[in-house]
Amino acid sequence: MSAAEAAVAPLVRRRPPARVRRKRLLVAVANHSVLVAAALAFLLPFLFITLTALMSNEQALSNHLWPHPFAWHNFHDVFTMPGAHLLRWMANTFEYSVLATLGVVLSSVPVAYALSRLRWRGRDVAFMVVLIALMLPPQVTVVPLYVMWAKFHPFGFNFIGTLWPVIIPNWFGDAFSIFLLRQFFLTIPEEYMDAARVDGCGELRILVTVVSRLAKPAIAAVALFSFLYTFNDFFLPLLYSGESPHHWVLSIGLSEFRSLHQVQWNLTMAATLLVMAPVILLFFLAQRAFVEGVTLTGVKG
């Protein structure tokens, strides 16, 4: 927090008069009070969700705010309820996230390299096309893509009803990742590449050994965002696997959870918490990568 502290360091080196100091103290107190109030408001939904997740069904349907007794077994019941294949959904989500993230990183790094460190005719146009692809809503292309997957039966394999139509496109470059990686590659000093070239490295080897290593933070950010995006994704998995519960991901399973269990708010909230948990856990494990990554997208974007 050194940057924040530096930002509030006193402007004047001399000790200011008592009146000014009192005013500054009041401003600081007011500022912190508003911050605390806002923080409470932001925490309240989490609190209510958690408390309800720990209630019995009758309590959740009453006006009680505090669970008594605490129904910890809800978190166990969620896994054993008929129709709710939480473990199955987790496995599907994991499959989607890992395969998609791997594809995004492997296919976007070379494209971003060509768009940033190599000079060729048409490069700026190609980059603009990436930007346009990045900003167009997925709904624009979704109908023909669905038709394409529905009519495509290699060896009699049916893509509709599986997650493959959602996973495969990630292996052919992702516009957002290309954009983010390109912005980062541009900041790597040319001297590193020149040194490698003098040592007799080809461009491909420079990409693999020099650039990839220097760009580790950006690659980590891309992998992180891709994981988050796929973990949260709802629209595309719903289109392709919405009708086949065996291939549901967590987000679809959760949205259908209440229809599987009528009005059991307590179990629904327990499942909601379980879906939030991996992301929040990941945040605390990789807090710096998160904040740096978000900043990278915003300030450099």
């Binding site: 600081a28 911050l35 038709v147 009005v263 939030m276 450099k300």
Partner: protein
């Protein structure tokens, strides 16, 4: 002669390298972007239900979309409402939080984490949580309000409160934008503030003449991204309508009947597109809707791309 051949060989090798590196995107762009765009334009001129072959109908889909279907303009109005209300509120609240965080003396890390966490919550989970918290009968918010002697609104059950409820959900998830703004605010050179103060500028004037101009590119960029995301707004509207409708009917099933619940008040343009394309399988009509969305978002995007160099330049130092 010999040298020229060597040079052209080197140039060719270089082109081949670019081609190899670009190949994932070349394939990805043509198959998952270029082809569907062209196909979308073609399908929009056809009647197509996936089962029988497309039947040419000319501009009939567009005519029906713009002048007959009453849901089109409901969906357009709802989407514009969300963009018009949510985007300014998100930018304002993110900016306010970032400013307060930049001035805070203690607990910055904790506050930052608290404001950022909701942005991480998966949209489906966050929406489900909000529909429960705001449920009119037993929800904690209306329970607390009734203790205070206020009878709370019906939130997601009331056509005039459903969109404001979605806006609250959107503001809860403002953390990403807040982090970006905070970085931008902290990046404003201290010397600018010092010289402004020497010139006798008060806190409000420093905000007006130092902070705002310095970070305006970032604010603008966030607003534009918000518009783009607003055009795609789907998940929260879809889930909230489905769950709230199920709760009201006790039948509890997310079906086509629940889309837009209550009374089409959450029927966003992408939700209507989903309904026509993927519950009614009117692929031609849905393509016409997609083309309209394409034209609108392309216009927005082009404006941004053409101006982005200026904004990026001003944002960087």
């Amino acid at each position: 002669m010999e040298r020229r051949r060597a040079r052209s060989r080197a140039a060719w090798r270089r082109r081949r390298l670019v081609l190899i590196l670009m190949s994932p995107w070349l394939v990805g762009f043509s198959v998952f972007f270029g082809y569907p765009l062209v196909m979308s334009a073609y399908l929009s001129l056809n009647h197509y239900d996936l089962l029988s072959a497309p039947r040419w109908v000319g501009l009939a889909n567009y005519r029906y979309l713009f002048s007959v279907d009453p849901q089109t303009w409901t969906a357009v109005r709802n989407t514009l409402w969300m963009i018009g209300v949510l985007v300014p509120l998100q930018v304002l609240s993110a900016f306010g939080l970032a400013l307060m965080l930049a001035r805070a003396r203690a607990g910055v890390g904790i506050f930052r984490t608290i404001f950022y966490l909701p942005a991480l919550a998966p949209p489906v989970a966050a929406t489900l949580g909000f529909v429960f918290i705001l449920n009119p009968a037993t929800g904690p918010v209306n329970t607390i309000l009734s203790h205070l002697g206020i009878s709370g609104p019906l939130w997601f059950q009331d056509p005039s409160w459903s969109k404001p409820s979605l806006v609250m959900l959107g503001i809860w998830g403002v953390g990403n934008t807040m982090i970006i703004f905070l970085a931008a605010v902290l990046d404003v050179p201290r010397t600018l503030y010092e010289s402004a103060q020497l010139d006798g500028a008060g806190p409000l004037q420093r905000m007006r003449y130092v902070t705002l101009p310095s970070i305006s590119p970032v604010l603008l960029f966030a607003a534009v991204l918000g518009v783009i995301q607003g055009l795609q707004y789907f998940t929260q509207a879809y889930v909230a309508a489905g769950v709230a409708a199920g709760q009201a009917s006790q039948a509890a099933d997310v079906t086509a009947a629940s889309l837009g619940y209550p009374l089409d008040s959450t029927l966003m343009y992408p939700v209507l597109l989903y309904q026509h394309g993927f519950t009614d399988f009117q692929m031609g009509y849905a393509s016409a809707m997609a083309m309209f969305l394409f034209v609108v978002s392309f216009a927005v995007t082009l404006t941004i791309v053409l101006n982005s160099r200026r904004w990026v330049h001003e944002a960087g130092r």
